[in-house]
């Protein structure tokens, strides 16, 4: 089944099948090196771009800032959820995202 995936309202949302599923302003926990050298890095996501689906995993580009060291950067292909039986299951931002490689499985 094709998935309608897009960012909305200046990157404030990731919309999956016309439903707003992932919002900016959450703090995501990322492992060292994915974003900065903090371990783990607590990164406030401020805007999404280039949402895409990789197999069943929904990934996105995001602009964010580390709450500890202040690094402001973009991150590519951050996994934010997965498709299960055609429905979107969001990942919990507070769980560590170990990696952002295309087939990245979360811990």
């Amino acid at each position: 089944m094709p998935i309608a995936l897009r960012t909305l309202d200046d990157g404030a949302w990731i919309s999956v099948n016309d439903s707003r599923q992932v919002s900016v302003s959450d703090v995501w926990t990322l492992s060292r090196g994915v974003f900065c050298d903090c371990e783990p890095a607590y990164v406030l996501l401020e805007g999404f771009f280039d949402a895409d689906v990789d197999g069943r995993v929904v990934v996105t580009g995001a602009v964010g800032q580390c709450l500890e060291c202040g690094t402001r950067d973009t991150i590519e292909r951050l996994p934010v959820g997965r498709m299960v039986d055609g429905a979107f299951c969001p990942y919990d931002p507070e769980c560590v995202q170990w990696g952002v490689e295309p087939d990245g499985e979360r811990s």
């Binding site: 909305l8 949302w13 016309d18 707003r20 919002s23 302003s25 607590y42 406030l44 800032q65 202040g70």
Partner: protein, 592 residues
């Protein structure tokens, strides 16, 4: 990225949207096909309807934009009546109750909790008094801002009201300019105080004089490509063009068409004309305008009046806003009333409408500092007007901390915001008023709170700039603010420099108190303004003057307010949301 939006706009946009809104309203919220929602909500913006954030599905924000913020007699009351009848939410706001109007920094009014089913009736009631929501949001000519006291003002040099109205009449519902790559914000200033804030708009008309064929003509200098959003603030750039009042509409149409044809439609983040001006430079823009978009020889820029600009300028001299009692050119007075964070509850709003009619002409004008103005008050009515009970809160002589406060919508309704804003700013102002002494001679002190980098509260042009952020405190993520200092418009506008980042929101009032104490101790003399004080110091010195600390101030919004369906609801959990709802408010359960 922008391709979806561009495709939707290609398929159907502009005035054609109206019939579709009527149809969906007739058939009810549920008639919008699930797989077309993103497209329709994008299109609805063109008619001033913005779908509220997650947890508030099926409810809309509605924006009404009168040119230069001028509401003619009867129009303000009509908006209040609409708010009273249609703008009621499923839960109360602890500071503002239920049912209010918001005055925005672009001289518009926003209503929340609007149901699609009520929209045709609301449109009818607005049109009945000559108001409209057309192009209030979306990719087109937004509300034209400008001097709100145009036509009445002793400081006026050019007739800004006439031009603002001509632009409004020409470019609203104008098919050739309906679908631009992005929003298009235009400002017309006619006075020597700079209250149109042209520097932060896509297209600015600014008062100027030019010697043409041996005669001095008053008209406008043109600046292009200002704006505050997305961590990429720009001041509008001088393109070396003077337009006579007769040429102004053609020049505006030329630049709008140039933007339509050359703006970036591939990438919405890069679409605003400020980025085109970055890429081209003002010379190429002028040349393209001359060769391709106007059929007369453009004049070079004339002499401007920027030297005397004082609005929002943070300097010691001149008017910083329109609050207070001021004589008009005809001998009557205009009375500027302070509206804290721009929000007026409907009961107060009725009282204000009554007062405007009883003591003035009934006109209510909206300012870019989220305040309102009554015009045409005869001198003999001033005392009675001032003794009206409603003017105690909406005062022509407010405390500087209340006078200087601006806040955007925030996580209460907005998708973009990172933090709660309006209620917080009300609490900040209250605490500061009770606990902090302003240094001698400081009568204006502007604190602008914006929930995110979209910068709707214009944070970069305040004495103290606050911008929504997050931080971690005691191991938990909490709402926080970046603090910037020293911004302001005026002859030499300057954006604030962000000197302290990620300050927990409950430590910000303490930080401002300490900063003001350090300013009082460290300033050269009582004549030195805060902006001058900041300009003399580098960021490191300034950061040392901000000492965040917890105080008696209590902040009830430290949790993730965006993760609630409504931050003030008793059960604010997303799962407790009554949205989406049918027209009568009954929740629609999803069972798909």
């Amino acid at each position: 990225m922008g391709t979806d939006v561009e495709q939707w706009k290609d398929e159907l946009y502009g005035t054609d949207i109206r019939d579709e809104i009527e149809r969906f309203a007739e058939e009810g919220w549920e008639s919008i096909p699930d797989d077309e929602q993103d497209a329709w909500f994008e299109r609805f913006k063109w008619y001033g309807l913005y779908h509220q954030r997650a947890g508030q599905e099926s409810y809309f924000m509605m924006r009404i934009g009168p040119p230069s913020g001028v509401l003619e007699p009867g129009q303000f009351r009509r908006i209040v009546e609409i708010a009273d009848e249609f703008s009621r939410g499923p839960a109360e706001n602890p500071e503002f109750g239920n049912g209010w109007i918001d005055v925005t920094t672009r001289q518009a009014i926003q209503l929340h909790w609007i149901r699609l089913e009520d929209v045709p009736e609301i449109f009818e009631q607005l049109e009945d008094v000559g108001l409209s929501t057309v192009q209030a949001c979306g990719d087109s000519w937004r509300n034209i801002v400008g001097c709100p006291v145009a036509g009445k003002d002793k400081h006026e040099h050019v007739d800004a009201e006439t031009l603002a109205n001509e632009l409004h009449d020409t470019f609203k519902k104008n098919e050739a300019h309906s679908n631009l790559p992005r929003k298009w914000k235009v400002s017309v200033t006619g006075c020597d105080e700079g209250c149109g804030q042209g520097d932060i708009n896509d297209l600015a008309f600014e008062p100027a004089e030019k010697e043409i064929d041996g005669e001095t003509v008053t008209g406008y200098n043109i600046r292009v490509g200002g704006g505050l959003s997305r961590n990429e603030p720009r001041l509008a750039r001088d393109i070396d063009v003077f337009a006579t009042p007769d040429q102004a509409v053609d020049v505006a149409g030329g630049i709008s068409a140039l933007f339509r044809d050359h703006g970036d439609r591939e990438d919405r983040y890069n679409a605003r004309i400020k980025f085109l001006v970055d890429e081209w430079g003002p010379e190429k823009l002028r040349e393209t305008l001359q060769v391709e978009y106007v059929d007369f020889e453009l004049h070079t820029a004339g002499d401007d009046l920027r030297e005397s600009y004082s609005y929002n300028a943070g300097e010691a001299d001149g008017k910083h806003d329109h609050v207070g009692v001021h004589e008009q050119v005809d001998g009557d007075y205009y009375v500027g009333l302070n509206v804290l964070v721009g929000r007026i509850g409907v009961d107060d709003a009725y009282d204000l409408a009554d007062a405007a009619e009883e003591y003035g002409s009934g006109e209510v004008r909206l300012t870019q500092r989220q305040n309102i103005i009554f015009t045409d008050v005869p001198e003999s009515n001033l005392e009675e007007l001032r003794s009206e009970p409603v003017l105690e809160e909406y005062s022509p002589d407010p405390h500087p901390f209340q006078r200087g406060s601006i806040a955007c919508t925030g996580t209460e309704f907005c998708s973009l915001s990172i933090v709660e804003t309006k209620n917080r700013q009300v609490r900040f102002a209250r605490w500061l008023k009770e606990n902090v002494e302003l240094p001698a001679g400081v009568e204006n002190f502007h604190i602008h709170l914006s929930g995110c980098t979209a910068s709707c509260a214009q944070p970069q042009i305040a004495d103290v700039s606050l911008r929504g952020m997050k931080t971690r405190k005691d191991g938990e993520p909490v709402e926080a603010l970046d603090i910037g200092l020293g911004g302001g418009l005026g002859e030499d506008p300057q954006f604030a420099s962000w000197v302290a980042e990620r300050v927990p929101a409950d430590e910000v009032p303490g930080a401002i108190a300490n900063l003001l104490e350090n300013f009082a101790e460290g300033r050269d003399s009582e004549h030195q303004s805060f902006r001058e004080f900041v300009a003399e110091r580098d960021d490191e010195e300034l950061a040392d003057l901000i000492e965040p600390e917890e105080t008696e101030y209590d902040d009830p919004y430290m949790h993730n307010t965006k993760r609630t369906w409504y931050p003030y609801a008793e059960d604010d959990d997303m799962d407790a949301s009554p949205a989406p709802a049918r027209a009568d408010g009954t929740p629609i359960t999803s069972d798909d």
